[in-house]
Symmetry: C2
Subunit: 928 residues, 2 copies
């Protein structure tokens, strides 16, 4: 029995037959296929009508929904869904897929119950199929896995609750993101998807795969999870996500319609059919089976779906009519899951891939590696918001109980923030590739979400601390002075890294410190006043760092660090007209300009911290900071306003040059989780012809990068997503900020030149790099928890005056600290008496002798204030019971036999986590 | 009983109630109005959703139908009709009007019977209303009344046969034509329309009428027909035919949609409602009643009707919701006929207008008087085709009987030509304001139509002449040599001006003559070798004409004639950036350049004809021709290629300067029928501020213009529509050809610069002006039949070899010649045993002492080979029995009491025609 199905939609029994070709309710695989007009002895062409609806890009998400500001771009999603539903009704053969639940949700709630019933029927019959189904189609290069899981969960939950199992997507559909992260594939596998389709990959990679018929493959997306747990069938679409040339029948297209009235001029059926057959046969030569797929749609298409369907009906009719004359081509309306099912039935072996699809280049000088860094302030704000939501808002809502949502400070909610964060994961949101006004809208949405969360937090804290004194949130504490902190006040430190640990302290003495320092301050009360862990030296002549030592391990490396800028190509050179822009990074020389060979310095030393403040230029400075009790060296950089008086666009990097022998290899994380090896001018699956020696070696860094040799590993933990590379031996560079003067011709239509009323001269960005030096076998023991600390920074709230005597000064939601390998990924209210819990093992199988091993947690002994009455395990996206997940099995071309999954939980309550495993539970709880 | 209704659609009884607000079946006036949500104590705003679908303009009619060549202009009428029908079904309040039957017909025949049934229901319920309903929305400045009546008849017949009385339009809807002809209004009145709405009129006229609240008026459109026979209520729409500013919700528009979800950004209901109320109240100040109309649509809009209706639904909902708070504005979906009914109910008096709406200017330097002449070759080809269709094809089809359509020469039809001619009447067709490739398509369609007609003619002639020898049609006889004419051959002269008169003659001797000469040639066999009627003199120094004399009346005038060109404005002058273009005539100086002050001449004199051949320039020449037996002087002009090496656009005129004392007055015909007086720098209904002394005095000439004083009237009959003016006393100028280098910013997007493979250096145009000099009281006795002769020129067909002895050499379809006042306007097959007959009185009431009086014809004694078994009189457009016509009666502001109509036919068979009357009959006939 499909419990979640009955839970959400009790009228839907698992015996209902979804009129579609893939698994439906309760593991029942409904083979509707025989009724689909596919023919085994023919070339079957699966036409997939679809629209690609960006959750913000040139217009804001709401402008796109309503079709507002059509002067910027004609696009109105409300009309797309209206139109598609109307057209699906007209002909039962027609099919459509829909992707972005952020839009579908907006539309659904405005429909009459009659329309809703119609749509349910279309979904039940497989005529309208959801693919992907998250709130948005997330970016893969600049997102953090925790936020991606969240946004998928929101979208899929809506579909589940609205449509039951027939609304559950089986195909991940990432047609537009600009490169593909392995961690995304891993997550999709764990969410139960049968396969992934996308459109963008390196042009050399595509050419190679076309030659080898490897455009369809099996992606083994984790080096730690037991196959096939993270195996994902992956299909590369033939035309990006567009229709074949000459066959675009949207209102935005100019291709000739099928003119089949012989009484009118220009009857063209014969011509159209001939062109179509040629394209289909040609396409079949670069794929393995006698089934091929064609995406019939594109950006915001199907606003007037009649144009598409009317002509597709005719195309199918006239092409298939030729079968009577011996044609062996069969065209049908289809969906990705129907197509996937046919590939699965073919029972072939498929190429196995274990690396990822970064970086993405669509031509020799067109590397989409600029957006790894574009809009660094937005990227940071998204990351801060994620921390606030993940732990503070979600967890305090659970711990505070119902009073959190409606309490002494009014009504609050975490939904607004959840949706704002979900929208921000879109591949033109946190990626930084949207227009400026849209970037502002994303930020505004996050700020609004946080306003709603603050009420939850205030209510919850009032209960937990027994003090209903008003709480002040100084949202801009690190850039401005918060009035209350200048008077005698108390603050709560809500510590994300030690889950749900809440402390009240006297704050007056630390007004000058920014948020992240507060956790250190607390520790300061406990310890020690001498450097224990790290030591740095500076070159007295240049003022630059010269070495870094780990006092515990007694290791030292040479370390020089400085700031540079690449001169952004303006597109006026002979090789290519490609300028640097929001998407593309293209320096016009492989040698960056130094900003200054020396830094003016100033040293500040207290009992808590040692700081060397460095000034490189009026627009570049840094504080090198070492806390006495810290294992990490903090580089707090400030860059901006980037000068453009010289009419040169600038892409600013910092570079660490070390004595580590890297052999042209470095490492970057994937979406903040597993780490992948990168090698200069090299791709694991094809012979790279490197045409951009800098941009072609850049990779996304979401939370960390490191370089190492046998002795030393220098790990850099970042506070946001950035691009990085290792161009020279022993060197690691990270791009911090970009200011550009040209649009890069990928549609956004604006140069990436961030100016605002606060920064009229250009955006100033501040951030931190945290460096740790360790022996390679133990480095992860430092950087894994460190990276979580940075992602989930604590929050301060301030209270005016003295605390009253009843105030509870310290609180932890956990009965005891979790084992170091275990991270509490999600704790959030699900419904009235249930909470969603995700526990993850945060070490890869190979990276820590101490921590890379299974670890067991007892769910009932987890929380200090919650009784866990029941627990059921779910898939990663929480839209299916784990034991009901049933995915297609695929055979890789290698001989390697995937290991069988074995779960060895000790009991109902004790759950074991293996390296890099995330387990998701729905807990029935009661507040103690 | 509505016989035609039962005839065409027997299942439709006249007791059916059309769910609409105007007269329906069998004179039953169905007052559905009470169910419409109009409120008498409020300002009622009638929203009229509509699309304006040009029957060819930037794309051909079939490209528009299919949505082909959307790269030129996005427009697909098939989708518009699909979409509108879908949207009308969704909400019974919604309404739509459709205009162009050329498109509707194409769409209708591709629909399933289920869809056809749905559409019938929408029509019966008044949700889909046809307005205008002709095959196209004809041009008013360059069309001939006979072709306009035909195109209206075809369209209205289709609607009648398809939908019955509920499909019969009651409103004429000429929203786009560029100026409005009085004869059009007269025809509309005689077709039974209750009113006319249009959008374009002189900007000064509009301002005046807004001030005076005279934008709604009663147009008395004939000076000869007894009122209210040609009275037509006329409404001027408030925004051309567009929606008010800010309220365009089509896919082509960028106005903000109504965003009424308070959960999303930018909720704007209050703003939209406020703006709408302001516009409505403002509009109400310039109209007379508490009902106002808003056209919600524009060119090719409603391809995705959902966008419009979704937002209009909301607009109506939110504006009317304010009534609960005291608002006195009521918005409703409506149609022009519903709006008109409310105006009629208001029972007011209305301003009376007796002139016309030419010329049209939309700004001080923007007179739309260029298109009167644009594309002179197309204008001529259309006129020739009209003659061929009107008489030769239609009449021979009737006279030949069924064998005409299927006979020894195969299957032929007149339908193809009828439709080609109907399409050519469109206001961007014969007007010359379409793109070049579209002009080519109109011509191609006419040529194709004529191919189909040729089979009919051959079949018919075979029967009538008892000779089935193959017939050759030399379509280009006047520009090339027809092979057969160089051998011994016989030809048939099918004489249009003497209806159905057919003669065979030996043709060998006249190969050098062009078509029109052939009628003269025939007469030559009968007569005389000296000039009897006219005499001309030439100035021996200049080679120009110097005088013209009428030998019968013994009157002589000084007459000089020469050719000139206006330098077309390039839009680069200070007053205005308006260049001359396909629509606009704007000379950059009021003085035209002479082409040559002298002409080289050569004289040819035969017993038949005297010719003076004049050469003015390599690109301008003329033959002045006088036939010995003729009352007219023929000026055969040849102009082109107009040189543009000097980069100056040229508008070529010929000017006749005479001794006639014109007092700045001249006369032009309206659509080839009634003649109107024109006065320089003057408009009858408002105080003109003349800002373009030349272009602002141009008027359309369709068939004739004249100047006169008490003694002399010089009439010029043209062979096509042209623009003309009388700028100086005694002078008359006619624009012959235009070659321009700039687009005039009215959408066509091309300079009017005609080049083709035949004329790579630029189009050469040849044409004729026929001059007659008479005493004013008898001038019409000459120019009325002369103009018909030119419109309906004879046709030659050739037969190889000798005629066999059985061949009937002469035939006339009439028992006897018709009285001079009577013209056989239409004789065409209607269905198997019925023919449609139109007889017209071709004199105005004031113009001929001899002919301007009632004349009686006996229908049974009309035809030589047809027995007339029955006759029923119809309205002018043949879609309603005459005795069932029931039009709204309107009261003009003047005291004048309209005379009652009195019919005094002598019997069933004898019908009387009064001056300018056209009577339309359906005859049941049998071939003798």
């Amino acid at each position: 029995i499909n419990a979640i199905c009955q839970l959400q939609r009790p009228e839907f029994s698992h015996t209902s037959i979804c009129n579609r070709c893939h698994e439906c309710c309760g593991g029942l695989r409904v083979l509707y296929w025989p009724q689909l007009p596919n023919k085994p002895d023919m070339l079957n062409v699966h036409l997939v009508p679809h629209t690609h609806d960006d959750v913000g890009w040139l217009k804001t998400v709401d402008q796109y929904y309503y079709g507002d500001r059509n002067d910027i771009q004609h696009a109105g999603v409300q009309y797309i869904l209206d139109s598609v539903v109307d057209q699906l009704i007209k002909n039962p053969d027609r099919r459509f897929i829909y992707v972005e639940t952020a839009f579908f949700y907006r539309w659904w709630k405005q429909q009459s119950s009659a329309t809703q019933q119609t749509v349910k029927q279309l979904v039940d019959e497989g005529r309208l199929e959801f693919v992907n189904g998250g709130w948005c189609m997330s970016d893969e290069a600049t997102t953090h896995y925790s936020a991606v899981i969240d946004q998928m969960t929101i979208g899929l939950r809506f579909l589940n609750e609205t449509f039951g199992p027939c609304g559950r997507p089986r195909v991940a559909w990432h047609i537009d993101p600009f490169g593909h992260a392995r961690e995304h594939a891993s997550m999709f596998a764990q969410m139960g998807y049968d396969g992934l389709f996308f459109g963008r990959l390196d042009y050399q990679d595509r050419a190679h795969r076309m030659r080898e018929k490897e455009q369809e493959l099996l992606w083994r997306a984790s080096d730690s999870l037991t196959p096939p747990m993270a195996d994902l069938f992956t299909g590369i679409l033939p035309n990006g996500y567009n229709p074949p040339e000459g066959f675009c029948w949207d209102q935005f297209c100019d291709d000739p319609p099928i003119r089949d009235d012989p009484d009118l001029e220009d009857y063209n059926v014969d011509d159209v059919v001939k062109r179509f057959l040629a394209i289909a046969k040609n396409q079949a030569t670069v794929y393995k089976t006698n089934h091929i797929i064609m995406t019939m749609g594109s950006d915001f298409q199907y606003e007037n779906a009649n144009l598409w369907y009317k002509n597709l009906d005719k195309l199918i009719h006239y092409v298939n009519a030729l079968q009577a004359k011996g044609s062996k081509v069969n065209v049908l309306y289809s969906t990705p899951s129907c197509y996937l099912q046919e590939l699965h039935r073919a029972n072939l072996t498929w190429a196995l891939k274990t690396d990822d699809f970064f970086p993405y280049a669509d031509d020799a000088h067109d590397f989409w590696t600029g957006y790894f860094t574009s809009r660094p302030a937005l990227k940071r704000y998204e990351r801060i918001s994620n921390g606030n939501l993940q732990v503070i808002c979600n967890q305090l809502e659970v711990l505070g109980g119902p009073v959190s949502r409606k309490g002494p400070f009014g009504e609050g909610d975490s939904q607004t923030m959840k949706k704002a964060m979900a929208v921000a994961q879109h591949h033109d949101a946190v990626s930084g590739t949207e227009k400026q006004h849209v970037a502002n809208d994303y930020a505004r949405k996050l700020a609004e979400g946080w306003q709603h969360c603050q009420v939850v937090v205030s209510n919850s804290l009032a209960g937990l601390s027994s003090s209903s004194a008003e709480r002040i949130y100084c949202d801009n504490l690190n850039v401005s002075v918060c009035p209350l902190t200048e008077t005698r006040s108390y603050c709560s430190i809500i510590n994300n890294t030690d889950p749900m640990h809440l402390v009240h302290v006297n704050c007056t003495c630390m007004c000058f410190l920014n948020i992240i320092h507060m956790t250190k301050y607390r520790k300061l009360n406990i310890c020690v006043y001498v450097l224990q862990f790290l030591q740095v030296t500076f070159d007295p002549d240049t003022g630059l760092l010269s070495s870094l030592s780990n006092l515990e391990t007694k290791q030292t490396i040479k370390l020089t660090q400085n700031f540079y800028w690449y001169n952004a190509s303006d597109g006026k050179n002979m090789d290519s007209s490609q300028p640097s822009g929001a998407y593309i990074f293209r320096p016009n020389s492989s040698t960056p300009f130094g900003i200054s060979r020396t830094a003016k310095t100033e040293t500040v030393q207290t009992s808590v911290v040692q700081e060397v403040r460095q000034w490189f230029a009026p627009w570049v400075s840094q504080v090198v900071r070492l806390y006495t009790d810290s294992r990490t060296l903090e580089l707090e950089w400030t860059v901006g306003p980037v000068p453009i008086d010289d009419h040169l666009g600038k892409e600013v990097i910092t570079r660490l040059d070390t004595s580590i022998k890297t052999s042209e290899i470095f490492y970057t994380d994937s979406n903040g989780r597993e780490v992948l090896q990168r090698r200069k001018d090299f791709r694991p699956t094809w012979q790279l012809k490197q045409s951009e020696p800098i941009a072609g070696n850049y990779y996304p860094i979401n939370s960390r990068a490191f370089i190492k040799d046998d002795e030393d590993q220098l790990t850099v933990v970042t506070d946001r997503s950035q691009g990085g590379a290792s161009i020279q031996n022993g060197s690691l560079e990270i791009m911090l900020h970009r200011r550009l003067l040209y649009d890069d011709f990928r549609g956004v239509g604006e140069p990436l030149n961030e100016i605002s009323s606060i920064f009229p001269e250009g955006l100033v960005v501040r951030g931190r790099l945290l460096l740790s030096l360790d022996r390679p076998p133990t480095a992860a023991d430092t950087h894994r928890p460190l990276a979580q600390q940075v992602v989930l920074q604590p929050l301060l709230t301030f209270t005016d005056g003295e605390l009253n005597s009843n105030t509870r000064l310290e609180f932890s939601g956990l009965q005891a600290a979790l084992p170091p390998a275990v991270h509490l990924l999600t704790l959030t209210q699900w419904d009235k008496d249930k909470v969603l819990l995700r526990l993850e093992h945060q070490f890869q199988s190979w990276e820590s002798k101490r921590n890379s091993k299974p670890v067991t947690v007892n769910l009932q002994k987890l929380f200090s204030t919650l009784d866990v009455l029941g627990a059921s395990e779910l898939n990663l996206s929480a839209n299916q019971w784990k034991d009901e997940m049933s995915r297609f099995d695929w055979t890789p071309q290698t001989d390697e036999k995937p290991l069988l999954k074995t779960f060895e939980d000790h009991s109902d309550w004790e759950v074991t986590l293996r390296p890099m495993e995330i387990r998701t539970f729905l807990l029935r709880v009661r507040l103690r």
